[in-house]
Amino acid sequence: MPDFWQFSSPTKVMFGKGLSIDFAVELEALGITSALLISDANLGKSGLLKPVADSIRENGIKVIGPFTDVPANSSLSAVKACADFAVKNNADGIIALGGGSVLDTAKAANILISHGGDLAKDYSGAQTIPGPLKPLIAIPTTAGTGSEVTQAAVILDTERGTKLSFYDQYLHPSIAILDPLLLKDIPPSLMAATGWDAFTHAIEAYTSLQSNPFSDELALPAVRLIKEAFIPAVTEPKNLDAKGQMLLAATLAGIAFDQAMVGVVHAMAHACGGLSRAHHGTLNFILLPHGMEYNMPVALEKYATLAKVLHVNPKLKKKKKLAHLSVKVIRKWQKKLHKVCNLPLKLRDVGIARDNLGLIAKKACEDGTSFYNPREVEETEILKTLERAW
C-alpha cells in the first residue's frame, strides 16, 4: 500500500434493464435543457439511438444530434468536430452512448465545450482542466473499458501518430447508466475481448503499486462477477443476466483502476497496439497470463488470494502453488474463449512481426502504466515475456 492514498468516485452509477430509455429525470436534476447525444455510426444504424432520444424528448428536453462521426480510435479532429457541433447548438449537457472510443470522445469534447481552447496544446497531460465540465451521462454499450467511471480519456493525434492522454478529476462522468439490454446484440467475440479488458483492469488494479484498501475491495468483487458471468455472457447471447453482471464488473474494475492504475499487461498491450489492428481487449487476452508470470516473483500473496476467487475449490494450501493456480485457471479460460469465439492466443496471430518485439519491449517500458507495475518493467525481461507471447 502506498504511504498516502485517497479514494473518490464521484460518478453516480445506475443499473437496470431498460434504464437507457428511462433516465430523463436525471437530466432535469442536472439542469440539462439541451442534450448533445454522441454515439458512433454503427450504433446509429442499429436503431438503439432513436428510443433513447425519444425518451429524452418526451420529457421536454431538447436532443442535439445524434453526433455519430466517431472513429474506432477517437481522434483530435473527431473531438473538435463534436465540440464545435455542440457549441453551435448550445448544448448544456452531454449523453454519450457507445464503447470506449465514444465515451472518451465525449469526455474530451466536453473539455472544449466547457472551457474552449486547443485540446492537444492546452489539456493533454494531467490535472490541466481549469474547472468543472458540463454534466456528462455515460452509457456504455460494451462491458470493458470502464470509461463511464474513470477520470481518463485517450485520443489519437492522427497527424503525429501518437496517443494523447488526458487525466483529470473533472473528467469523471456525472452519471453512468448501466443497461444490460444494450448488450443484447453484441457479437460474442466483442463481448469476449471487451470482457477480458475489464478482467485485466481488475487484476492489474489489484496488484498495482497504487492499489489501496478501497480499490482492492472493488477489484476482487469484479473478478468474482467475471468468474461467474464471463463464459455464459459470451456463449449464451440471450443471457442478459450474465451480460448485466459483466457490465457491473467492468464498472467496478473501472473504479478500481481509476484509483489504482494498471500495469505491465497494459504497457505491453499499448505498445503492441501501435503495430497491430487487434482490439485492445484481444491484446490483453493474449498478454494477461504472460504479464502475470512476469509479476509472479513480487505478487505471490495477491495472486494466491486471486486463486481463491478464481478457482471453484482450491485445495492447495501453499501460497506459491495457489499463486500459480491463478494463472493456470486464466489459461484454461483463454483456451475456452479461443475455442468458442476464436480469440487469438499468440501475438503472431494479430499481425505482430517477431522482428518488432524489441521495439515493442522498448515502448512498453516507456508506457505510463509501467510505472505502477509491482515489478520494475525492464526491457530485456519484457522482451523475453513478449517472445513467449509471440
Binding site: 498516502f4 497531460g125 497504487q210 505510463g368 510505472f371
Partner: protein, 127 residues
C-alpha cells in the same frame, strides 16, 4: 509563509541547483540523453524555469516564452522545494492536484529514477 521569499531567491536557489544537476556527470548525462525540454511554472513566488536538454549543454532559462517545451509542470514553489527534498511523491502530487502536467507524463516518470540521487544533493546544496 512560503519557503522562497522572492522570485529572485527562487531563481538563485532552484536555478542554481538545476545548473548543478545538468552539469553532474551521471545525472546530467542521462538528462541530456532524454532530450526533454521541460518548463517548470512556479507560483508563490512566481517564476518559470526552462531546462532544455535537447541542446548540448542543457541551458537553463528563466521566464522564457520562446523555447517551446515538450512538457510543462505547474506547482507552488513550496511543492518544488519539498519535491527536491524527496518529500513529495510525484504520482501522488498529481493525484492531489498539487502538480499539473501538460504533455506526455511518461517522459517525466521515466526520469524519476535518474534524479533519485538529486534529493540528497539538494539537501547538501542547501546546507
Amino acid at each position: 509563509m512560503p519557503h522562497f521569499k522572492s522570485s529572485e531567491e527562487l531563481k538563485k536557489i532552484l536555478g542554481g541547483f538545476f545548473n548543478i544537476l545538468v552539469s553532474d556527470e551521471k545525472i546530467g548525462t542521462k538528462l541530456k540523453e532524454s532530450k526533454l525540454i521541460i518548463k517548470f511554472n512556479y507560483r508563490h513566488p512566481d517564476l518559470s524555469i526552462t531546462v532544455n536538454c535537447a541542446l548540448p549543454n542543457a541551458p537553463i532559462t528563466y521566464n522564457d516564452s520562446e523555447t517551446k517545451p515538450e512538457v510543462e509542470m505547474f506547482m507552488d514553489a513550496d511543492t518544488a522545494h519539498k519535491f527536491w527534498l524527496g518529500e513529495v511523491n510525484l504520482v501522488m502530487a498529481i493525484a492531489r492536484r498539487q502538480m499539473a502536467v501538460k504533455g506526455p507524463i511518461p517522459r517525466i516518470l521515466k526520469l524519476l529514477p535518474v534524479i533519485k540521487p538529486a534529493y540528497k544533493m539538494y539537501k547538501s546544496y542547501l546546507a
